[in-house]
Structures are given as C-alpha cells and as structure tokens.
Symmetry: C2
Subunit: 259 residues, 2 copies
C-alpha cells in the first residue's frame, strides 16, 4: 500500500484523497436518483479525478445507506478504481479479536481495499487482526473532526495526556511490531502540528470542506516532507446539478488545493 | 423494543440472548460448509431456541466474513426470527452525524433490527442519530470483555473515573433526552456489580462461555429485579458435529443457566 501511495504521489504531487460518499439527496439532477445513478455518478468522479488525486476513500456506511444493493455497488466501484490508486475503506471497524478478523476479511477481500479505518476504543487485540494484513494499512481514530471529540477523545488522563494523545502513544508502540499503522486526525482542529510532533506515522485527515477545515491548513499541519492523506468529499462531489466532467472537477480541485 | 423484551421475559423467564455468529470453521459436520449450510444451521438454532431465549444477537461481522452473500443470508435470517423476539444487531458502529444516520438506516431498515451496539469513542453527535430512532434500543460500549479493555477503557481520567466510567456517566446524561440507551458490559470483569450501581440503564453482557464469564455471575452482577441481556454464542452454538435439535440446545441452555 505505501509503495503504491509513494508512486501515485510522484505522479500527482498532491495529498488529495477523494471521499466517495454517495448521498441520493445531494446527487446532481443529471443522474437518476437510484443505485444505478449513483454508480454512474461515482464512475464519472473517478474518471475525472484518477490522475489528480492520491487515493480514494469510500465511506462504506454511505453505501450501506442504500441497502444491500449499495454494497454490491461499492464492490463494482472498487473494481473500477485503477489498480495503482490506493483505496482506503472508511469503515471504523473494531471488535474482539476473532470478530475483527472477520471484518478485515470482508473489507480487504470483498472490496480489495488497501487500507481501513479502525476505532481503537477496545484496545490492541481489537486492532491487531487488521495490522496482521502486512500489505494493508490501518488508520486508527486519533482525534476526529466532529464536535463529539470533546466527549471522550479530549478528556484528560491522570498521565496529563488526553485520551487521543494516549491513543497516539499506543499507536506508536503498536507500530514497533506492525509498522503499517497510521492515525485519523481531523483537519478541523488546531492541534494538528502538535500531534505531528508526537508521531512519525502517516495521517489520514478528514474534515476539509463541508466540515470547516482547509486543505492548506491540513497540509501545513501534517507533514510537508512526508505524505499525508487529506480527504475531501462533499466539497468536491456536490454543489452542481449537471454531469460531472474532468474540467469541472479540475476547477474544484484547484480551488481546494488553493492553486 | 423494551415492551417486546418485557413480554418475552414473561414467557421465557431468563435473560439469555443467543449470539448468532456463524463461523464456517466451527460449523457441525452435518451442515455443508457453505452460505446455504450456515443458513440451515442458524434456522435450526432459532427453531430450537425461540421459546427459550430473550433475544437474538447476530454479530454482523460474522456474516460480512462470508462476503456479500453473508449479508443476504443475515437479511433472510432476520426475516425468519419471529416478530415477537427482539433482534440486537451487534455492529459496533458510530461515525460523524450524517454517516451514523446512514448506518442506522442500514441496520434498522435492511435487517429490521430492534437494537444496535454502538462504539461511543467519537462522542454524542456520533451516537445521537441512532438514539433518534425512538422505538429502537442503542447499547453503547462501556467495558468490553476482551483484554484490550485495559488499553483505553480502563485508563483513569483526572476526574478519578476510568474512561469506561466516564462513558457510563455520559450515557446517563444522554439518556435524559433519549431513554432508549443501554451499555455493553463484559461478563468477564469483576466490576459488574459496581457498574450496576452507577446507572439504571439496561446492560447487554457479552463474554459468557468461550470468553470465560458465566451466566450466573453475570446475572448476579447485573440486576436480578430488572432485565439484562446475557449473551451466549459459541458455548451454545458449537461443540457438536451433528444436526442441531431442540433437545440438544435445551440441554446446553440448562447447563448455561445452571439448572
């Protein structure tokens, strides 16, 4: 996965991860509001962005929201994404060990994903079955981009660290055995540069666009020298009513990248 | 959901929740090791337990482990579970608000589940979309049954509470607006009676059987006067090679209940 990412970064020279989150309510009018319409829409998005982005991040829940047909659509879509572009499946999975093993099989085998997001609340034995897939990448939730991150993630432990900083420390330790680990860190927070100093592991950064973060802020805070994945979903996919074209998405990408 | 639970409790007079976790490697030899074989097996389990248990808890990941066919199987299975028996979908979902909404639609609409398990790490706005389904029940992870619960859940906050106790407090607060909330508390821990004193909300208790907890210990610690859901999966489903019969499962249930 990391080699794939490096090669694609050499080609596109940006850290843009395109969030593939189909929402029937936001689909441009040009596309039928159906599972077929969504597939057509997303294939147009991939056609228009495949030489302009570092990776794709489908959030499996948006496909689940379309029922079982939506998951068949996701499988078909993943088959259409060119092999050289990494697929990060945003699934926020994690359970006791034998269950996490099933989840890993589902995400990595059925959809041929290169990476997955995992919720680390249940601890090491809930994350390790994903990490054991050595050719895949596992991004555990660190500090998420939503307001609810105050409820638990930002609570301060007796060690003076917040829960999310404790997760960064855990992840650093876990990565000694399993280097295929990274963190999800929301772009909406000011702590991004501080968190960057606490780990050398890669970041997947959601929260740009509709959630209020900016690409340039995320990039400045993440790692100018290394590679991070800055996810943009709604700001890139929605907002027009016509068919998605390469020119339209090129314009939106330039706006996002600040070029 | 709660009325359904009360009525079924009057009938069966126990707190047994049957965990439906299909595992091809453990399937009795009598059943073909295929998706059809799994369906046959689980239908036999339901036939044999429907007048002896309080609820069913399929863990969706074990069905996902069978690929997309496994999810079609889960849908067919949920349709076969008698309407008067609650279905708790063990899914450990949770994401930012608009995504959690999709997850809730998937679990509650596609599978007609009466309840779901949710991972609360991302905080209130990640849990609320599930709670907004007023006729459904939402069990958030409190203290899970695995060893990894030491890594984050048991870490102590500056308030002297552990993270899981903080989650209990949060859940108590959230339940003022949304009373359809409960907690997942593992049967493998000694703290069960202590946690019981910290909240009046219902418990879903995994960890009995293969993970080392016992039904009687869980029941004693949970709430003798109220209702809790004590989940037994592997200990009930697996261990023989022949066809599942009502007599066989009656015997296993008596062993589990200590009768």
């Amino acid at each position: 996965m990391y080699q794939k990412l490096l090669r694609q970064h050499e080609t596109v020279k940006n850290c843009l991860c395109v969030g593939l989150d189909p929402d029937l309510d936001k689909l441009p009018d040009w596309y039928p509001k159906s599972v077929d319409g969504v597939l057509h829409f997303l294939l147009d998005v991939i056609e228009a962005t495949q030489d302009k982005c570092l990776a794709y991040k489908p959030n499996i829940s948006f496909f689940e929201g379309l029922g079982l047909d939506g998951l068949h659509l996701l499988k078909a879509l993943c088959n259409e994404i060119p092999d050289h572009i990494p697929i990060i499946m945003d699934a926020k999975r994690g359970d006791i060990g034998n269950t996490s093993r099933m989840q890993a099989a589902f995400i990595f085998n059925t959809f041929k994903a290169d990476a997955i997001t995992v919720n680390p609340l249940m601890g090491y034995d809930s994350v390790e079955p994903f990490l054991e897939h050595k050719n895949k990448w596992v991004f555990i939730l660190g500090l998420t981009s939503n307001s609810g991150s105050n409820d638990i993630e930002r609570q301060r432990l007796q060690s003076e660290k917040s829960v999310y900083e404790h997760i960064i420390t855990l992840g650093n330790t876990w990565s000694e055995k399993h280097p295929n680990l990274g963190f999800v860190i929301g772009a909406t927070h000011d702590e991004l540069p501080t968190i960057r100093k606490q780990t050398h592991l890669p970041f997947l950064i959601p929260g740009v666009g509709a959630q209020g973060g900016t690409y340039s802020h995320a990039l400045a805070g993440a790692d100018k020298n290394g590679i991070c994945l800055i996810n943009v979903g709604r700001q890139l996919l929605y907002g027009g009513e016509g068919r998605i074209t390469p020119a339209l998405l090129q314009e939106r990408i330039c706006t996002i990248l600040g070029q």
